[in-house]
């Protein structure tokens, strides 16, 4: 594969309820990413978006996001009904052709208008699971319970993950939930859906993220410290939660192997552990030891703009390299319930 680099990225704050429409808060994010990359909007050879009609409660919601891109004169453009991380994947594939040298990927979503417990059951098998009203928190609770029963995790570890995420998020201006918290106090809180307490859940967020990528020559020409994509892969698992061992993430392991996570030491990992118990599970699937700094941004427990949160992991991993001096970082994105579909991206400095 050709070397492709991330040369710019930007995010919106994560809001509980944005006062702006999706295209409105997306526009400055895309403009910011382009400005940081030091390129002209017109030089982008390909654009790919990730968003979800069901979050907006409107068919063709993604069409209005074109306003934020500035699609006049016409542009070469595509859209995935997936997290922006997969939009980045499609754009990365497009750049492999070598006939264009710059691409934009972005993800955006407003979760605030809807009720996740009503929307996400529609993501499940419509004949056998949707009618049960299987919502994300209940499914995540089943997964956490399976891990607790197996003895691979404790509720204290879950609370420690939540506390560490919030503490790390204090340094992240885009985060929604941050600040110090006492693990014992967290554990005294009542269960929301046992064994999950409120701190084990992500916030409901609105937000956007954009990333600019370039081919090798272009990246070196326009960027002082490009962040190289050394490997990227994604894998899905069977849909029925009962057909999977929920205490491990086989597809993350497969994607990590194909992306080359274990080829060299990893310093930082940005993991899309949307529920506290998933962080340990993902660490194990990716073979990340205690020396790896996980979610220095605070991760999804601090900011969870669905459809942008996976791409934000890639942007945050790139930030760890370009702004904080890390040499090698791993980013992870997920789709579906109980980590059904996972993407892993390995990033390195120059």
């Amino acid at each position: 594969m050709e070397d492709i680099a991330i040369i710019g990225y930007a995010q919106s704050p994560s809001w509980r309820q944005a006062d702006l429409t999706e295209p409105q808060f997306l526009f400055p994010v895309i403009s910011d990413a382009i400005a940081r990359a030091g390129i002209d909007r017109r030089d982008l050879g390909f654009t790919c978006a990730g968003s979800c009609d069901y979050l907006s409660g409107q068919t063709f919601a993604f069409v209005s996001n074109l306003e934020a891109v500035g699609a006049w004169p016409p542009i070469s453009e595509s859209h995935v009904e997936m997290d922006g991380a997969w939009a980045l994947y499609e754009a990365w594939v497009r750049l492999q052709h070598g006939d264009i040298d710059l691409a934009l990927a972005f993800g955006s979503g407003k979760s605030s208008p809807g009720d996740p417990a009503e929307i996400y059951p529609l993501q499940m098998d419509p004949y056998t699971i949707t009618p049960l009203g299987a919502d994300p928190v209940s499914l995540a609770a089943l997964q956490a319970r399976a891990m607790l029963d197996k003895g691979t995790l404790t509720e204290r570890e879950m609370a420690e993950t939540a506390a560490r995420s919030r503490a790390s998020a204090a340094g992240n201006p885009y985060a929604q939930v941050s600040g110090p918290s006492d693990v014992d106090a967290l554990l005294r809180e009542p269960y929301l859906t046992a064994p999950l307490r409120r701190h084990d859940l992500p916030p409901i967020s609105d937000g956007a993220c954009a990333v600019i990528m370039a081919t090798a020559d272009k990246a070196r020409a326009v960027c002082e410290r490009p962040v190289w994509i050394r490997g990227i892969d994604h894998r899905i698992e069977p849909h029925q939660p009962g057909m999977r061992d929920l205490t491990e993430s086989l597809s993350t392991r497969q994607a990590g192997t194909h992306a080359g996570v274990g080829d060299k030491p990893v310093e930082v990992a940005e993991l899309c552990a949307t529920f506290s118990h998933q962080e340990k599970l993902l660490r194990e699937a990716l073979g990340l030891g205690d020396e790896v700094t996980v979610n220095p941004s605070g991760g999804p427990l601090a900011a969870n703009p669905v459809m942008a949160v996976g791409l934000a992991r890639i942007a945050e991993a790139a930030r760890a390299i370009s702004e904080r001096g890390a040499q090698r970082a791993v980013a992870h994105a997920t789709s579906g319930q109980c980590l059904q579909h996972n993407l892993v991206c390995v990033l390195e400095g120059g």
Partner: protein
């Protein structure tokens, strides 16, 4: 890196108003299994899947690649879900093609579907709001504008409708089977959105389409002739702004010129043997002939009138019967791409255009603002042979 990609397997379902005999995964598997059978491959031979469809609320299933992962044999593999409005079937095929051309994968299964009878497509196309005017309501004024601009007489639309329905009678997969439809039938059918009569509008269908994309090596091992992807492009523009020309959208013009240039086509009317264009309402045939510079300004409707776009004409358009005869929205674009490929493979059956070597597949969507196109050839030098 860019290496040749070939289509070696094509399958589609029987398209119908309501496919109550299959579930959603059953529908996509019907098309996918036929594509695999055509390629003489099995599910385990496939490296990755790319799924496309129009808005999820049309069936009420959110991000269906998740619940269809098993049915698509994708467990343990990468799967993508594309959504670019009406052009999605075309864009989905292109995303799959790019995965092969760039060397990421060697054999990719791409599938597109819509099961419109599960929901209310008219409501869905109105943005999920009540009181919508439907797709025809958006496009009708642009057709009137085309007629005023080009001087096209009213009967051109009726001719397209009759041609496509008669072509569909040669296509066993087509939804509408109207071999005896006449100009008078079209003209006297109820007016839906002036100038679109009932018979000038697409149906609402349940259906799916699938293709297997592979490498030169894969094509050499395939049991049937491949279709080579000679060029591809996607182009989008904003749907509304002052000064936009929705009759001849710039994104459509540019998309066409991008594929012509990449394929080495200098005179599409002469060098393309058959075109499958996304014509959900009759008037879009002459509009795209001009909008993609196949015909000059005001010449598109004359091509229709003179019979050039008939299956035995000099520039056959939609020998399969087109969107006017089958419209499972998410699959409709891929059906255009697949039918163009079947023609250059010589495997179109009764609606085969003799000696078709270069085919054009096109899909559009949104407010005529999203475009996807490909040029396929019977050989890698099929266009060169026509210089």
């Amino acid at each position: 890196m860019s290496r040749p990609a070939a289509i070696v397997g094509i399958g589609q379902t029987k398209h119908k108003k309501r496919r109550d005999d299959v579930s959603l995964p059953g529908l996509v598997r019907e098309a996918a299994q036929r594509a695999l059978d055509d390629a003489e491959l099995t599910w385990t031979d496939i490296d990755a899947a790319v799924l496309g469809k129009a808005p999820d609320p049309l069936e009420g299933v959110m991000m269906p690649e998740l619940s269809m992962a098993d049915a698509l044999g994708a467990a343990g593999k990468p799967i993508m879900r594309v959504h670019t409005a009406g052009s999605v079937g075309g864009s989905t095929a292109l995303v799959a093609t790019h995965l092969v051309q760039t060397g990421v994968h060697d054999r990719v299964l791409t599938v597109a579907y819509e099961k419109q009878a599960e929901g209310n497509a008219q409501w869905g196309l109105a943005g999920g709001r009540s009181g919508g005017m439907g797709a025809g309501g958006i496009f009708a004024p642009w057709m009137r504008s085309y007629m005023a601009r080009s001087g096209a007489p009213e009967h051109i639309g009726w001719m397209v409708a009759v041609k496509d329905r008669r072509n569909a009678a040669k296509n066993p997969y087509a939804h509408l089977q109207m071999p005896d439809l006449t100009i008078d039938d079209v003209k006297e059918s109820p007016m839906l959105w002036d100038p679109i009569h009932w018979h000038e509008s697409c149906p609402s269908s349940d259906g799916a389409c699938a293709m297997v994309v592979t490498t030169e090596g894969g094509a050499a091992r395939a049991p049937h002739p491949p279709a080579w992807v000679l060029a591809s492009a996607m182009r989008s523009e904003l749907g509304t702004f002052p000064g936009r020309d929705p009759v001849r959208p710039q994104a459509g013009v540019e998309c066409a010129h991008m594929v012509y240039e990449a394929a080495g086509i200098t005179d599409p009317r002469r060098q393309v043997d058959i075109a499958e264009l996304y014509v959900p309402f009759s008037w879009y045939e002459p509009m795209w002939l001009e909008g993609h510079d196949i015909a000059g300004a005001g010449e598109g409707w004359r091509m229709v009138e003179s019979g050039e776009t008939q299956i035995d004409g000099s520039f056959p358009v939609n020998p399969s019967g087109g969107v006017l005869s089958s419209n499972p929205i998410g699959a409709s674009g891929m059906l255009r791409f697949a039918e163009a490929a079947q023609q250059v493979r010589g495997r179109a059956g009764e609606h085969q255009v003799p000696d078709a070597k270069v085919g054009l597949g096109q899909a559009y969507g949104g407010a005529a603002q999203y475009f996807a196109m490909w040029v396929v050839g019977a050989t890698l030098d099929a266009v060169d042979q026509k210089r």
